[in-house]
């Protein structure tokens, strides 16, 4: 019986059953590029075909952004995109996006897609893709996927300034919560007032409702913190401080810093030409008490160009790897 119910549910949840029409999208992997490109068999009318489904096989979990180009804006850019989690699975998993509700730029005729997984497209394969009109079940699936998606859950640079809320059908989850609380106040409490209940008691009841929703939202936060973030931070557990610093930086940046620490005398001065976001700030911090000054005793070069006039003032000193090396001031 249980198996039958499961089978029925699977069949019901399969968007193909209730979809009346669909447009196939073929995705290919361009050589040497970190994204997959999708071409629909005909241009998709965004008004009619509001939902997109991708069957993705992935050998790692990651986040990815799905872009599209429309007749109004043929560029692939961030406003016309959705961000979602790809989960590692030995079999293809279906991801459903009701794009009409999730993004206001699902407009006009859609002629191209691109999927950009974070960390490149290696190990990510789109088995099939299709666009179709929405139905109740795909709406629920898409909403569920959107709500538990990366928005407001992953710690990103701007989290220090603000934490976004998870969205549901393109709107903050709080919009729905306020409607529910408002409904409660208008309905139940009006009835209570008619029955002559004390205002303070009613206020307390309302506040308990707020606390109830607070609890529900907290479950969502607990998922972000206890599951996603702890999982992300777990890589640091049991590591030495040097290993942690290497993990906290991209590529071989921290090993390069450790290399510089080894060869730059304490209290020496250095200048740098360092590529990568915030890496220059980090060099100042990591290498202290060595101080960064313009045209210092040493020049640290890490994946960046050095102006010929500056280079002329220094001579090669130690090499970490190609494009990552230390130069020493001539005559020092």
């Amino acid at each position: 019986m249980r198996k039958l119910v499961l089978l029925a549910l699977t069949v019901l949840l399969s968007s193909q059953v209730l979809a009346w029409d669909q447009i196939k999208i073929d995705f290919v992997q361009p050589p040497q590029l970190p994204y997959l490109v999708g071409q629909p068999e005909i241009n998709i009318d965004a008004d009619e075909f509001t939902t997109l489904s991708l069957r993705i096989k992935a050998d790692r979990s990651t986040t990815a952004r799905l872009f599209w180009a429309s007749s109004y804006d043929p560029q692939l850019n961030e406003p016309k995109s959705v961000w979602f989690f790809i989960k590692k699975a030995p079999f293809p998993k279906e991801y459903v996006f009701q794009l009409k509700s999730q993004n206001p730029y699902w407009l006009g005729f859609i002629g191209q897609f691109a999927l950009l997984p974070d960390g490149g497209s290696q190990g990510i394969e789109i088995i099939s893709g299709k666009a179709y009109p929405t139905n109740f079940l795909t709406t629920i699936r898409s909403g569920w996927q959107e709500f538990w998606g990366p928005r407001g859950r992953l710690v990103i640079g701007s989290t220090i300034n603000t934490i976004q809320s998870p969205n549901l059908f393109g709107r903050s989850i709080y919009v729905y919560v306020y409607w529910l609380i408002g409904g409660w106040i208008i309905g139940w409490l009006a009835w209570q007032l008619l029955r002559g209940k004390n205002r303070k008691t009613i206020a307390k009841q309302t506040f308990y409702i707020v606390i109830f929703f607070w609890g529900l939202l907290e479950i969502s936060n607990m998922y972000s913190q206890y599951i996603i973030q702890v999982k992300e931070d777990w890589k640091y557990v049991g590591k030495s401080q040097a290993e942690k610093l290497a993990l906290a930086n991209y590529g071989d940046y921290y090993p390069f810093i450790a290399f510089c620490e080894k060869y730059l005398p304490q209290n020496s001065t250095f200048d740098f030409r360092i590529g990568g976001v915030y890496n220059d700030i980090k060099a100042r911090y990591y290498l202290y008490p060595r101080r960064q000054v313009k045209l210092g005793d040493f020049l640290l070069v890490y994946d960046a160009m050095v102006e010929p006039t500056i280079e002329a003032a220094y001579q090669p000193y130690k090499t970490f790897r190609a494009r990552a090396y230390i130069m020493k001031k001539r005559g020092l």
């Binding site: 998870p166 306020y178 702890v230 931070d233 401080q241 993990l247 906290a248 100042r284 911090y285 202290y288």
Partner: protein, 474 residues
């Protein structure tokens, strides 16, 4: 690890408890041991910062031993006095059974708060500093203090600028106490501040409401995502919230007590409020404005209740003011008097005030943009959960009550705090920070715990229950 935690937090807490004993005096029975523990940590950190500042001012090298020596020197007379009076704020009896019996749901709430605290500690301590502003400003000065034993060297001053010193010195203390530059520990102090703030919030709430309600509100505070996030970073925002919110809580209790006055006002509340508000000024530039708002409200309260206050109350309040000034003036006079003039100037010359309200004139696009951004940040982002919605519900149901003292005074703190943000963002310089979303939420971090406290106060407190509740300690 435990040894490092003991040195970074335990040592300040021990010194803090000595001074807390002096502050609480005979009122110590009104404070539970967790509350006293949390306050000891806050006071101890404040003492460390003031000691480090004084040592540097006297051109003494900032080392672990010099700081401990300085702390011991200033705490020794207090310790002798306490031994003579046998009035240490903690007693073994407090930790022994019988412990209060809790219902299952109360245990559940405590479990949830503990879980969140564990998450904060884990997330803070497991990894090195990863946020760029923490490298760029605070942590590099902390390294300077560790290696050069001073923060006033010119190459470090370029990072400090006119920023108050508490975050720099607290991080410097962290390196000195563990005798290494393991920067995972730089986030220990914010994480501990988070836990202490929840404890103090509960203790203060417990004076007004039944245990389940106080616990529930403490849990609500512990779940604010933005608050949790900042407890795991090495920024200055949680530090200012910690000191300001605790100072304001005791000020609220003081206001509440004055309104229900039956005997002399609590000296402990006055002193705690004065000290924590004073330390707010050391945490971030905005501290000066926040502490000023609280003092302004206290002045209004004193004027309003002048007929029921007695001479002793005035003396106590004057002593509190003196303590506040003693803490604040060294920073303002010897540190950055410019901060005061700069803030005053920016407030006075904000286009809103000077140019006939061109900036926040309701007809102006900027005003609408501000309203829109404030609305979205307060209600639609995940930073504050439903805290602001709770305040709206309080307004809707208690609109008569909130206009009456003492509720009106506490509401005024929130409103003036928000208005000060409005004026600040109305000026040309900071408006872009509102638009790019980099500042507003961090400034609101100071108000939201007070908003929660205010909701609790209005909904669950009643004037009659106040007198009988004020001595609740658990």
């Amino acid at each position: 690890m435990l040894w490092n935690v003991m040195l970074i937090i335990g040592l300040p807490a021990i010194y803090g408890s000595i001074w807390l004993s002096l502050i609480l005096g005979n009122e110590k029975a009104q404070f539970s041991w967790p509350e006293k523990g949390a306050l000891s940590i806050g006071l101890g950190l404040g003492l460390i910062i003031l000691t480090m500042f004084s040592l540097d001012l006297l051109h003494q090298a900032l080392t672990f031993s010099s700081i401990i020596f300085g702390l011991s020197l200033v705490s020794f007379p207090a310790l002798i006095y306490l031994i003579k009076q046998k009035n240490y704020c903690f007693s073994l009896k407090e930790f022994l059974p019988p412990w209060p019996k809790l219902a299952n749901y109360e245990w559940l709430i405590i479990f949830l708060i503990s879980l969140k605290s564990t998450f904060v500690l884990f997330s803070a301590l497991v990894k090195p500093v990863v946020d760029c502003d923490a490298f760029q400003f605070y942590a590099i000065v902390a390294k300077g203090i560790f290696f050069d034993h001073s923060f006033s060297l010119p190459h470090l001053q370029q990072y400090i600028g006119d920023k108050p010193l508490l975050p720099f010195l607290a991080q410097g203390w962290t390196f000195l106490a563990q005798n290494s530059t393991n920067d995972s520990y730089l986030k220990l102090i914010p994480a501990v501040m988070f836990i202490c703030l929840i404890i103090v919030f509960y203790a203060v709430a417990r004076r007004l409401a039944a245990m389940p309600i106080a616990l529930l509100f403490a849990w609500m505070l512990s779940t604010l995502p933005f608050f949790v996030y900042h407890a795991t970073t090495a920024y200055a925002d949680l530090a200012i919230s910690f000191f300001y919110v605790i100072g304001t809580f005791y000020l609220c209790l003081l206001i509440r007590e004055i309104s229900a006055k039956k005997s002399a006002v609590s000296f402990a509340y006055i002193l705690l409020s004065a000290i924590f508000l004073g330390l707010t000024v050391w945490a971030k530039r905005a501290g000066l404005v926040l502490a000023g708002i609280d003092l302004f409200i206290l002045l209004a309260v004193v004027i309003h209740y002048r007929e029921i206050l007695v001479k002793q109350d005035y003396w106590r309040l004057a002593t509190g003011l003196l303590v506040f000034l003693l803490i604040v003036l060294p920073w303002l006079m010897l540190g950055q008097l410019g901060t005061l003039t700069q803030i005053t100037k920016s407030m006075i010359t904000a286009p809103a005030i000077v140019q006939g309200s061109t900036a926040i004139n309701p007809d102006n696009g900027r005003f609408l943009a501000m309203i829109s951004i404030f609305g979205r940040k307060l209600f639609l982002y995940n930073d504050w959960q439903l805290a602001w919605a709770g305040l709206i519900i309080v307004f809707a149901f208690f609109w008569r009550q909130i206009l009456k003292p003492p509720y009106s005074f506490i509401l005024l703190i929130i409103i003036i705090d928000l208005l000060s943000l409005f004026v600040q963002f109305g000026s040309g310089e900071t408006f872009r920070w509102l638009l790019d979303g980099t500042l507003l939420d961090r400034l609101l971090l100071n108000q939201v715990p007070i908003v929660l406290f205010y909701c609790l106060l209005v909904i669950f407190d009643s004037k009659d229950s106040w007198a009988e509740n004020k001595n609740r300690v658990v």
